[in-house]
């Protein structure tokens, strides 16, 4: 067909990848491996060739065939696919073609879908070509009645591939935006980190779900096929919950990439979707919390830690984008609330959710029967929050307005100094008072009535670590002071920067 009259397939970006990734040779080469493997394991060959090529003499001998084809699918889709997804943006930015796309009229979704599914299109071709052979081998091995199960396994294999690739793609997108914020210029995202992350996610799903379900790899019945879970009072088979969880993850991975693309295409982006993500994540997970259990509050505590962890991670990632803070601060001074919201950092938008989980956890602490008193738990959680803020503020002070160089070194230096060197000096100054910390810490959360007093030395360590040592004065006050000091120093530094580079009339 002539290109002059041709419309694109799916999206312009996807079509571009089809041009790049597919050739007659590559199309023909795709099915070669699965066909050869099945010939080797099955009885496709005839005559003398059968004696040489096939190893299967009975239906059960197809087990290696389906297992081998699963492995081939995993190599093509999970390993190669995640690499392609992780490097899609790198190739674009490194090749200096990214600005052409940003200046074009392409919308965020066609861009994301085209890049994600286009960059991985050939790996999917290999994977999807393998699936019919896999289904054949699976059914030949286990009988015609297992076709439904085989389709289910194939579905999980595909889901594992898509989610892994989407994870790698989103991670590289985040890396690109973070680098642009940090240096102002260098946007080339790294590949190895996003690739490994995508591969880990894909492997977990692939081996955790697809392989467990498939009898090809395991004779044992998969645990989650028969186990039930309760979600907001509704009992359901765990498999359905896992499928819903995967759908939830995939939706947010794709939507996350879509939002990143919006920002890169210079659309206005506010943290509303980030807040919706946090709300839906916590809402989804809260559904699994079992109110009848004594450790109900501990499950909520886990969600508090999750929300705090996400907010903390985002705060560190956003620390070096000082220009956004400057715009935020200017908008705040001008009372331009729309611009304030547009330039609001995600960690600030995430704080209300952390506080909500804080309140929710404390309101569900049982009145009696805990090792840890209500006050100690409340102060411990507050200390966790303040330590996160302290770290974030100090790291902001170290990175904001800098040249974007040696960021990893600065981060490592801070963590080693704050969490290792300084407390070690304190410990060393207190000889003969070593604390068997871990057994004490975990005993706090076990169900033994009566409160346990913390070892004396720990009371002095609250400057360095968040510890459940009891009172507000002991657990919270030191870190509150540190956080306020860090905030003061950060504002002073930002003020100085502003004075140095403030608007000048030409």
């Amino acid at each position: 067909m002539s290109e002059k009259k041709m419309r694109y397939i799916f999206t312009p970006e996807f079509h571009r990848y089809i041009w790049l990734k597919f050739s007659p040779f590559r199309l023909l080469a795709g099915p070669v491996v699965p066909v050869l493997w099945l010939m080797l394991c099955g009885n496709f060959a005839s005559g003398p060739a059968r004696e040489i090529l096939t190893v299967a003499r009975s239906p059960g001998d197809f087990a290696p065939a389906s297992g081998g084809l699963m492995a081939f699918f995993f190599i093509a889709v999970a390993i190669w696919g995640c690499y392609e997804a992780a490097s899609a943006l790198r190739d674009e930015v490194k090749g200096n073609t990214w600005d052409f796309l940003r200046m074009s009229s392409i919308s965020p979704w066609p861009l994301v879908a085209g890049k994600l599914f286009g960059a991985t299109s050939y790996t999917w071709y290999l994977g999807l070509v393998t699936l019919p052979f896999f289904l054949y081998a699976y059914v030949a091995d286990h009988g015609a009645e297992t076709l439904g199960e085989a389709l289910q396994v194939a579905g999980y294999m595909v889901a594992a591939g898509v989610i892994g690739q989407a994870t790698a793609f989103l991670a590289s997108f985040i890396d690109m935006v973070m680098l642009a914020g940090r240096t102002g210029k260098n946007r080339v995202p790294r590949v190895i980190g996003p690739f490994i992350l995508g591969l880990v996610v894909s492997s977990q799903l692939f081996f955790g779900l697809a392989v467990q379900v498939g009898r090809a790899m395991s004779a044992r019945p998969a645990y989650f096929l028969h186990h039930h879970v309760t979600w907001y009072g509704q009992q359901t088979v765990q498999q359905a919950a896992m499928t819903a969880g995967m759908a939830f993850a995939l939706f947010w991975l794709l939507f996350g990439a879509y939002r990143m693309a919006r920002a890169e295409l210079m659309y206005r982006v506010t943290p509303v979707v980030w807040m919706l993500f946090l709300a839906s994540l916590l809402g989804f997970l809260c559904g699994f919390v079992q109110p009848r259990l004594f450790y109900y509050y501990m499950q909520l505590f886990g969600l508090f830690i999750l929300s705090l962890g996400i907010t903390y991670g985002v705060m560190i990632l956003e620390a070096s984008d000082g220009r956004k803070y400057a715009r935020f601060s200017d908008a705040l001074r001008a009372g331009d609330w729309r611009r304030v919201f547009e330039n609001m950092h995600k960690w600030l938008a995430g704080l209300p959710f952390v506080l909500a989980m804080y309140v929710m956890t404390l309101t569900h602490v049982p009145e009696a029967g805990l090792h840890l008193s209500f006050e100690a738990l409340g102060c411990f959680m507050l200390a966790l929050l303040l330590f996160a803020l302290r770290d974030g503020l100090v790291i902001h002070m170290a990175l904001t307005g800098g040249d974007g160089k040696h960021v990893t070194f600065k981060l490592l230096f801070y963590y080693v100094l704050a969490y290792l060197l300084l407390p070690s000096v304190q410990m060393a100054a207190s000889p003969g008072r070593a604390v068997d910390f871990m057994p004490w810490f975990f005993s706090l959360f076990s169900y033994v009535p009566g409160h346990v007093e913390p070892p004396p030395l720990l009371r002095t360590m609250t400057f360095y670590y968040p510890l459940p040592v009891g009172s507000f004065t002991a657990a919270v006050l030191p870190v509150l002071g540190e956080a306020l000091l860090a905030a003061g120093l950060l504002f002073w530094r930002l003020g100085r920067k502003r004075a140095e580079s403030g608007p000048e009339k030409s």
């Binding site: 312009p12 090749g95 600005d99 052409f100 200046m103 210079m266 030409s506």
Partner: protein, 314 residues
């Protein structure tokens, strides 16, 4: 009507401010040469105009549309070629243009004709089935310009479009820009090659240290009465300089060896009388040359830089 309006633009890279309170307007249909030394902030300013960067403060409007308010609308009316642009090396020339036409949401029936037109306009029709990776520097530049023009934008921003081009390719680029100017396109072109910009530019915007050093219409500059005279005097010394400075309407700007660069506001008749007077006073004048009102003169006047007569702006 102003096609580009920039007001109080400030832009920061982490740790440093590169644009300081930049304000100017560019008229519709004009071709503006953006010149200035390396690191002056030209590329950053062009990227802010193109809506590719978020400025710290200030406002940029293209055709009345605020870039910060509606960058996508601005992108639809702007074609931008970066100084370090890249091509999809694995695609053919035709595929590159077709892909970009699709990205700009051109109607399917318009894609083919538009690609054909661009292939002809940029002079790369005979290379259409060659892979981008196989193109020479000049042809890559032509394809890059084709990609920036695929949606027929009203505003065209070219950052160093002639860098690395051979003379033939430069002439072709010059002709292409003149053609676009005739079509009424507004263009902003950043370049170091001033004598080429002179062929097609109507305005000059000089950027220095992140500020607008000067913004002038070249026609007004050319029409002004002041001319630059280079007077050669054998053994040019203080006594000679005093006699030169005593001449009416003549201002000595610089001295270099036996030559004095002067600004002269008189007519040609006045100039002839002045030469006679100098010779009568015993000043051993051996040459007198008047340079035209070139872009280079304008640039030198704006920046206060010394001309090296070599053609380079900086």
């Amino acid at each position: 009507m102003a096609m580009i309006s920039v007001e109080g633009l400030n832009f920061d890279y982490p740790g440093s401010r590169v644009l300081h309170d930049v304000s100017f307007t560019i008229a519709e249909g004009s071709v503006t040469a953006m010149v200035g030394p390396n690191g002056a902030g030209k590329t950053t300013l062009l990227r802010c105009i193109a809506g590719l960067e978020h400025p710290h403060s200030g406002r940029v409007a293209i055709g009345g549309t605020d870039v910060a308010e509606d960058p996508r609308r601005v992108h639809r009316m702007t074609g931008y070629l970066s100084d370090f642009f890249g091509l999809y090396e694995g695609l053919t020339v035709r595929q590159c243009l077709t892909h970009m036409a699709w990205c700009h949401n051109l109607p399917a029936e318009d894609v083919g004709p538009r690609v054909e037109a661009l292939l002809a306009e940029t002079g790369i029709a005979h290379m259409q089935d060659k892979k981008a990776a196989a193109l020479s520097r000049g042809y890559r530049q032509r394809l890059g310009i084709g990609l920036a023009l695929v949606h027929d934008p009203a505003l065209i921003i070219l950052d160093e479009p002639a860098s690395g081009m051979d003379p033939e390719a430069r002439i072709a680029l010059s002709q292409h820009i003149r053609l676009l100017r005739k079509r009424g396109k507004t263009m902003v072109i950043s370049s170091h090659i001033l004598n080429e910009l002179e062929d097609y530019c109507t305005d000059m915007l000089v950027i220095q240290h992140g500020r607008v050093a000067q913004h002038l219409r070249l026609s007004e500059f050319a029409a002004r009465p002041t001319r630059i005279l280079r007077i050669g005097v054998l053994g040019l010394g203080v006594a000679h300089l005093d006699k030169l400075m005593a001449q009416p309407m003549l201002t000595v700007v610089t001295q270099e060896g036996d030559f004095a660069d002067c600004e002269y506001t008189g007519t040609l008749q006045d100039q002839q009388k002045m030469l006679q007077a100098l010779l009568a006073q015993g000043v051993p004048v051996f040459s007198l040359s008047a340079s035209g009102h070139t872009l280079q003169d304008a640039y030198m006047t704006a920046t206060g830089a010394k001309s090296d007569k070599g053609g380079g702006g900086s």
